[in-house]
Structures are given as structure tokens and as C-alpha cells.
């Protein structure tokens, strides 16, 4: 079910500004890959090119290739809408649909994609909420609005919503940065469980978090403010944090800048 991502020569722009330049990497299926780097280095932009969300931003455009298994996301005739169904996303701030109930939030993606019987929907919603470790907390109030939950619960609701449509890849854009430490821990545990089923890519500002949850880590950097961000290196997380091959990575990790 999970798929491999192969990026080659990817460059992304906001209007005429080049945000990231010439990035190539491979993300293995059923693994967690973390993106780290200083603010403004383009790691979130890069993440958003992986499900064609970048081009939603006014002026956003992309050059290069992103292969999902063998299929180019940016190939001719590819519908960005179907790309986003294959590659799910969880955002920095929890964003459940404020006017929908908890149940409807999780079912939202399914309802878009086809006719499900009520019983099928019930099953999938329950399974997804269980998958997001939220079922026990909300099973008695599935018809209450999702906005009534705590921040951490809302974020897990968003994860449940994303995994309900069974994407091949799950992108997470600093999913814990708006949460307290306990909620963060819950999400990190969840990531560890989800990687059995999905290819997970997570952007994080928190290096301990990257070390805790990820199998591979990619370090992004930019030469100077206004310059495009670049991929410095990607390697096994253990190596990045113990013995990185590039000096800049070691400087960043040991807190000498950024």
C-alpha cells in the first residue's frame, strides 16, 4: 500500500522568487523521513510540492520530477486532485472543518470519493479514529463539532481524516508545533504506529523529535537570506545525529546556528 517517492531536480518558485532549488532524494516506503533545517530553508515548501499543494499558493510553480512509485506527479494529464487523494497531508495548525461533526470530519474525504453505505462509513470512521488513537476519547460524542476538542485531539482528528481515505503517503507539516508536550508525545507515538502502513514524511523544527520518530533525516539549508533552499544531505537518522558527513549539518545539530 505505501509507495516510494523519487524526487529528481526539483525547483519551486513563488512568482519569480526561487524558494528551493534542484532537490533530489528518495523516500522509502513504510518509513518515517524527517526534514530539518533553519526557518525559511524551504522544507515546508518542498513538502507541499510532494502532493501538489504548492501550486495552490498564488504564483507557486514547480519544475522537476516527483515519482510516486513510477508515476510522475507533475506529468502531463495528471490531475492534482487525484494526487492529493494518494498523498495525504496534516498541517501545522489543526484544521478540522469547524461546521462538521467529528464523524463528518473523518468521513469528509470518503464522501468525496464515492458512495459508501452507512455501515461502511461507520466501519472506516471507527477504524481511522482507532488508527489515530482517538477512538476511546470521542466514541461517545461523534456527532459533536470537531472544534470542541483540545488542540492535540483536533490534530489527531486531522490525522484520522487523512488516513481514512487510505493514502499511500502521509505528509506532516510540523504537526506538533502548536501542541503541548503531552499531546506531542501522543502524536509521536502515533507516527511510530502509522509507519507500518504509510510512507511518512514529517517536517519538524524540533531536532529531538526528528531523532525520536524518524528513520531517515534530511537536512535543508540556505546559503543566505533570499537565496533558494537546498538539500544538504539525507541519511539514516542515527548517522545524521552522530556522524553527519557535512560540516554544516553538524553545526546545525550541535546548535551552532539556526
Amino acid at each position: 500500500m505505501a509507495k516510494r517517492i523519487d524526487v529528481s531536480g526539483l525547483t519551486a518558485y513563488y512568482g519569480s522568487h526561487k524558494a528551493i532549488e534542484d532537490i533530489s532524494m528518495t523516500v522509502e516506503p513504510r518509513s518515517v523521513t524527517a526534514f530539518i533545517g533553519p526557518s525559511g530553508c524551504g522544507k515546508s515548501t518542498f513538502l507541499r510540492t510532494l502532493n501538489r499543494m504548492h501550486e495552490v499558493t498564488p504564483g507557486g510553480r514547480v519544475e522537476g520530477k516527483v515519482l510516486l512509485d513510477a508515476e510522475d506527479l507533475y506529468g502531463a494529464g495528471v490531475d492534482p486532485v487525484s494526487v492529493r487523494r494518494e498523498v495525504g497531508m496534516v498541517f501545522q495548525r489543526p484544521n478540522p472543518f469547524p461546521t462538521m461533526s467529528i464523524f463528518d470530519n473523518v468521513a469528509a474525504g470518503l464522501r468525496l470519493n464515492g458512495n459508501y453505505k452507512k455501515s461502511e462509513l461507520n466501519d472506516i470512521v471507527e477504524k481511522s479514529l482507532k488508527g489515530a488513537n482517538l477512538w476511546n476519547e470521542v466514541k461517545d460524542r461523534l456527532n459533536k463539532p470537531g472544534s470542541g476538542l483540545s488542540g492535540g485531539q483536533q490534530q489527531r482528528l486531522c490525522i484520522a481524516r487523512a488516513i481514512a481515505v487510505e493514502p499511500k503517503v502521509l505528509l506532516m507539516d510540523e504537526p506538533c508545533s502548536a501542541l503541548d508536550p503531552i499531546s506531542t508525545l501522543a502524536i509521536e507515538d502515533l507516527i511510530g504506529e502509522l509507519k507500518d502502513r504509510f510512507t511518512i514524511v514529517i517536517v519538524t523544527h524540533n531536532m529531538q523529535q526528528a531523532a525520536r520518530v524518524s528513520d531517515r533525516t534530511a537536512f535543508f539549508n540556505l546559503a543566505a537570506v533570499g537565496q533558494p533552499g537546498r538539500l544538504v544531505e539525507i541519511d539514516d537518522t542515527e548517522r545524521i545525529f552522530s556522524n553527519p558527513s557535512v560540516q554544516a549539518t553538524e553545526d546545525y545539530i550541535s546548535g551552532r546556528f539556526g
Binding site: 495552490v56 492529493r84 472544534s147 481524516r161
Partner: protein, 334 residues
């Protein structure tokens, strides 16, 4: 904010003495402060007085008229105010006001919402800015110009539409046509719709623009098409705003005078068909009947104006209430 560049009082201009500072601390005891506060508070109170005076004087003159009314003010189907005793009633006017406004809303609200969506989510960005600006300007076109255009340009163009409606929907009775001039409730409704379109569009556009980006991205990331994004994120978020925008438009349609007076060919009867001339609205009746009205006729018109006043107050009050609720709601989710 850099103070020295934005204030007209550089610190050196008025070096305050110690006694002045002490007085400043006591605030309103300075004569200048007292006068200024008095002036501004007085203006606020004046507004309240004006509102009260409107209600009081209209009610007073209206009560004079109604006490002389030989017919039933609510149910009489005529407006003979210069007779002795006078006989008049607002039934036809109330009916016409409501019917024309309802037609206007039925046409204008969906179109306005669609245009607002067009401007915020569909049009190329280079196009949407100027168009929004032009629609803004169109909201400022005086109603008499709409009236002139409606009577001289729109009405002649409606003949074809009327014949067509009569052919296919004449059997309903509501849309049957006897080949008269199309200066009827439907024409009024269409013209009112065109008039209130800019205001409803503008307010709805503002609301749609405020939809948080993250709600739209949530839908996009689930693989929603643009229409599904609109349906899942934009419309639910903007619903109460659209309702209040529509109420504002409705308030305008209810009180519109000149555009109705120029287009409608009135009488004092309720007609089943919207395509046959006749009927009237509160505001149109006041404008049309004023010239020939004696003093007691004017009082009768004031009485009908009071009813219109109350109706628009209720509609606007409802709109404000919805806006106020929306503020709480969006604050909780910000």
C-alpha cells in the same frame, strides 16, 4: 510605529509645565476636555433624539390618519385619502412590497453569491481586483438612474421573456400574461434584483475572502475539487455572512422608492399573475400619491411609511443579530 513622524505635535512644540501635567492627570476637569466631551457626547445623544423623534412624529401623524380612516387600515383595498371620510388600507401595498422584494431576493442572492465566489475563487487574479472595484462603484449608482434605465430600457426588453413565460408557465396562473406593457411586479422584482446585486456581492465577497486558508487547504489535501472545496469550507464558513448580506439587500429592496415608481404601473388590487400590471409598494405609493395628497392624504402616507419603517427595522435588526452571532462564532474558532 514611529511617533515623531506621524504626530503633528513634536514633543518640543508644547513643553508642558508641572502644573499642566497635574491638571492633565485629573483629565476631564479641564474646560477644553469638558467642552469636547460635551460636544461629542451631545452628538451621540442627538442621534438618539432623532431616532426617537422619527418614531414619535410618524406615530403621531399616523394615528391622526388612522383615526379618520373609514376603511380598515390593514385590509382595505383602496387609497382614497382625499374623500370625506377617507378610506384607505395597506393590504395591497404590503403584498406588493413583499412580493417584489421576494422576487428580487430569489434572483439576486444566488447570482450575487456566485459572483462573489467568482471573484474570490474562480476569476484570474488580474481580473478579480478591477471587477470588484467596478462592482463597488456600481453600488453607488443612484437609484433614480436605475429607475430610468429600468423603465426605458429593461421594460421593453422583457416582452419576449413575458411571452415565453406565458407560453410555458401561463397555466400556473402566477405567470400568465395578457399582452399588456410589462410594467409589473416581475419587472420591479428584476430591477430591484439588479440594484441590490452589488451590495450583496460586496459583502459576500468580503466574507468569502476571510475564510481561513487552512480550512480550504484541509479540503484540498483530501483530494477535493475546487467546487468541493467551496462546498466543504467556503460556503459553511460564509453562510451567516451571506445571510446578513442578503438581509441588507432585502432592507434596500423593501424601501426602494424611485425605481419602483418609474417601472410599476400601479393600482389598488392584488393580482394573481406577476406578469399583469397593478399592485404597489409602500415607498412607490408614497412617491406616486404625494403630489395629489391633501394634508389628511399626507398623514395617510405617513401612516403607511410607519409600517414600512417597522418592517425595515425588523429586517435590519435580524441582519445585525446574525452578524453579532457570527462574530462570537468566528472568535471561538479563530
Amino acid at each position: 510605529m514611529d511617533i515623531s513622524t506621524t504626530t503633528d505635535v513634536p514633543p518640543s512644540a508644547s513643553p508642558p509645565s508641572l502644573t499642566e501635567r497635574k491638571r492633565a492627570a485629573r483629565g476631564a476637569t479641564r474646560p477644553g476636555d469638558r467642552i469636547f466631551l460635551g460636544l461629542s457626547r451631545g452628538s451621540g445623544i442627538l442621534l438618539l433624539v432623532i431616532m426617537a423623534a422619527i418614531a414619535v412624529f410618524l406615530t403621531y401623524r399616523a394615528s391622526l390618519a388612522i383615526s379618520r380612516d373609514h376603511g380598515n387600515f390593514l385590509t382595505t383595498f383602496e387609497w382614497n385619502t382625499n374623500l370625506t371620510p377617507p378610506s384607505f388600507g395597506i393590504a395591497v401595498l404590503a403584498f406588493g412590497t413583499i412580493v417584489s422584494s421576494v422576487i428580487a431576493m430569489v434572483i439576486a442572492v444566488p447570482v450575487a453569491v456566485a459572483i462573489a465566489l467568482f471573484l474570490t475563487h474562480y476569476a484570474p487574479r488580474r481580473l478579480s481586483g478591477p471587477i470588484a472595484y467596478v462592482i463597488d462603484l456600481l453600488a453607488a449608482v443612484p437609484s433614480i438612474v436605475y429607475g430610468l434605465w429600468g423603465a426605458l430600457i429593461l421594460v421593453p426588453h422583457l416582452r419576449g421573456l413575458y411571452g415565453w413565460l406565458d407560453t410555458y408557465f401561463g397555466w400556473t396562473g402566477i405567470l400568465s400574461w395578457e399582452e399588456g406593457a410589462p410594467r409589473t411586479m416581475l419587472a420591479v422584482g428584476i430591477l430591484l434584483a439588479i440594484m441590490i446585486l452589488p451590495i450583496i456581492t460586496n459583502v459576500s465577497r468580503e466574507v468569502f475572502r476571510q475564510v481561513p486558508r487552512m480550512h480550504e487547504e484541509a479540503a484540498l489535501a483530501l483530494g477535493a475539487t475546487r467546487w468541493e472545496v467551496v462546498r466543504m469550507s467556503v460556503l459553511p464558513f460564509g453562510r451567516s455572512g451571506v445571510i446578513s448580506a442578503s438581509m441588507l439587500g432585502l432592507g434596500r429592496a423593501l424601501g426602494e422608492t424611485m425605481a419602483v415608481a418609474t417601472v410599476l404601473s400601479p393600482d389598488y388590487d392584488i393580482h394573481a399573475s406577476l406578469l399583469n400590471p397593478g399592485g404597489g409598494t409602500f415607498a412607490q405609493n408614497i412617491a406616486s400619491k404625494f403630489g395629489e395628497a391633501s394634508e389628511q392624504g399626507r398623514d395617510a402616507l405617513i401612516a403607511s411609511g410607519l409600517v414600512l419603517f417597522v418592517i425595515t427595522l425588523l429586517v435590519n435588526g435580524a441582519a445585525r443579530a446574525i452578524i453579532a452571532r457570527r462574530k462570537e462564532y468566528s472568535g471561538a474558532n479563530a
